[in-house]
Amino acid sequence: MLVSDFKTLGLIGGVLLLLAIASAVAQILARRSDSGLDRAIVDTFRRRVRSWWVLYALLAFAFFVHPTATIVFFFFISFWALREFITLTPTRPGDQRTLFWVFVVCTPAQFVLVGLKQYELYSILIPVYAFLLIPAGIALSGDPKRFLERTAKIQSGLLISVYCLSFAPALLTLELPRLPSGYEDPYRHARLLFFFVLMTQLSEALQYAWSQVPGRHPVVPSISPTRTWEGLFGGTASAMLLGGALWWATPFRGSDWWMAAVMSGVISIMSFAGGLSMSAIKRDRGVHDYGTLVEGHGGVLDRIDSICFAAPVFFHLTRLWANWAIAAQPPAP
C-alpha cells in the first residue's frame, strides 16, 4: 500500500511540479516584452499551460474520487468536441433528426457502456450501429443532396470525438494482470490513464520543441508547416526515453519495462497523426482552430486531437499485452 502510494504521489507530485514550472515560465515570458520571443508563441504557450492544468485537475480527480467522475468528465469533453466538429461541418436541414439522436442518445450511451465496463458493446456501438443508422436516418429525411459527404462527416465526427476519446477513460476499466506480490493496487488504473494523457501532452510538447531546432524539414508543408521530421523523430525518441523512465508508474513492469518506452513511441506517433489529420480538416474548412467560434481560446478539439488518435491504439495494445500477460500467469492459488 505504502509503495503504491509513493508511486501515485510521485507521479502526481512530479507533474504538479512540472506544471508549476511551466506556469511560472509562462508568467515570466508574458511579463517580459523584451524576451525576443514572438508574442503569438508566448500566448499559445500560456493557453497550452492553462489547458494542461484543466486536464491535470481532471485526472488528479480520478485518484481521489470515484472513476465514474472521470468518465463523466470525459463525456463532457467529448460532447463539446462533437459540437465543435459538427458546427464546422456543413450539414443540411435534413440531418437535424439524425444529429439529435447522435448528440442526445449515442454520445451518452457510449460513455455509460464504458462506465459499465461493457467492452463488447462500447467497442462496436458506434462503428457498427451508429455507422449504419446514421445513413439510414439521413436517407429517411428524403434529401439526397451530397448524401455520402454528409453521412461521412457525421460519422467521422462521432468516431473521432466520441468513440476514440472514450477509450481514454476506458483504460480505467481494463483488466490487468495480477501483481506478483498478490496485493491489490487501487491506483494502477488511474496511473495508467494518467501516464497515457501525460505522454500525449509530453510528446506534443517535445515534437514542438524539436521542431524549433535549425534545419527544419516539414513533413507535409501544404498541411502543417510547423510539423517537421526533426520534430517527429526527436520528439518520439525523447518521448520513448521519458516514458521508459516512468515505467515504474505503469502496469508494464518487471521484464516488460521496455513496453512503457514502446507504448510512449506509439503514443507519440499517433499524436503526430492526430494533429496532422485535424490540421488537414481545419485547412479544408479554412479555419485556424476549432475554437474560432469561441473568441480568445482555441477549441476543445484542438487540445484533444492527439488524445483522440492515440487512445484507441494505446487501449488496444495495452489490452493485448494484458491478456497475454494474464494468460502467461500461473492460475490463482
Binding site: R83, T87, P93, Q96, L99, F100, F103, L293, V294
Partner: protein, 220 residues
C-alpha cells in the same frame, strides 16, 4: 398587505433566480460566443435588432447580454405564442419581462409601436426581429417598417445591429428537437435614424448593418 408584499418579494426573488439560471442555461445550450464589434455593452436605451431564424433567438440574444444590461432589456414577442400555457406565461411575464404584441389585433390606434414606446418608457431597451417572421435560411430578409416608426417616435434610441449565427441549424423552422451546436452572437456598432431619412433608405441601411456583420464573420 404584508403577506402580499412578502409574496411579491418572494416572487421577484424566484424570477430573479430563474432569470439568472436560465440565462446561464441558455448560454450553455447555445454554446454562444459573444463578441462586440466596434460596440460596447451599455445600459442606455437601445434597440437590439437581429436576424430571426429560430424560436430561441430572443432567449439566446437576451442571455448574451451582461446581467446589468439584461434586466433592463425586454424582448418584443408574439402574444399568441408566449401566453400559451403557464410556463411560457411565467417566462415571458416574470423572467424575460417581454413586451407582447397581439399579432391578430393590430390597429392604427393600437399599433405595436405605441405599445413599445409606452412600455419602454425612459428606462428599458428592447430586442426586436424586424424581419417579421422567422426565415428558413441564413439570408436576412427585408425589414418590416415597425423599426422605422419606432425610431421616428424616439430618434434618441440607439440602434444596435445583431447577427445570430447558426441558430437556424440548432432549431430550424418546423423542428422541435434542438441540436446542440455552437452559436455565435455578434453585436455591431450603434446607428441612429438620421433626420429626415426616408423609410426605405433607413430600413435598407439597418438590414445592411446586420448583413455586414454576417459577412465579417464569414471572412474571419
Amino acid at each position: 398587505m404584508a403577506t402580499e408584499a412578502l409574496s411579491s418579494w418572494g416572487g421577484d426573488l424566484a424570477s430573479g433566480l430563474v432569470r439568472n439560471s436560465l440565462a446561464l442555461l441558455a448560454r450553455f445550450i447555445s454554446g454562444a460566443s459573444v463578441r462586440w464589434l466596434d460596440s460596447q455593452p451599455d445600459t442606455c436605451q437601445r434597440v437590439y435588432f437581429a436576424n430571426h431564424t429560430s424560436h430561441l433567438d430572443a432567449v439566446v440574444l437576451w442571455s448574451a447580454l451582461p446581467p446589468e444590461v439584461r434586466v433592463l432589456t425586454r424582448p418584443v414577442a408574439a402574444k399568441d405564442y408566449w401566453t400559451a400555457g403557464p410556463i411560457r406565461r411565467f417566462l415571458s411575464g416574470r423572467v424575460f419581462n417581454a413586451i407582447l404584441i397581439d399579432r391578430t389585433d393590430i390597429k392604427v390606434h393600437r399599433s405595436p409601436v405605441d405599445l413599445m414606446t409606452r412600455e419602454i418608457g425612459h428606462q428599458y431597451s428592447i430586442i426586436v426581429f424586424p424581419e417579421g417572421g422567422r426565415s428558413s435560411g441564413p439570408d436576412v430578409q427585408e425589414f418590416k417598417s415597425g423599426l422605422y416608426y419606432l425610431c421616428r417616435r424616439r430618434p434618441d434610441l440607439e440602434l444596435i445591429p445583431v447577427y445570430i449565427d447558426n441558430m437556424n441549424r440548432i432549431l430550424p423552422r418546423g423542428e422541435v428537437l434542438p441540436v446542440p451546436l455552437l452559436t455565435s452572437i455578434t453585436f455591431g456598432p450603434p446607428m441612429w435614424l438620421e433626420a429626415g431619412e426616408p423609410k426605405h433608405h433607413f430600413l435598407a441601411r439597418a438590414r445592411e448593418a446586420v448583413r455586414r456583420i454576417q459577412q465579417l464573420r464569414g471572412s474571419s
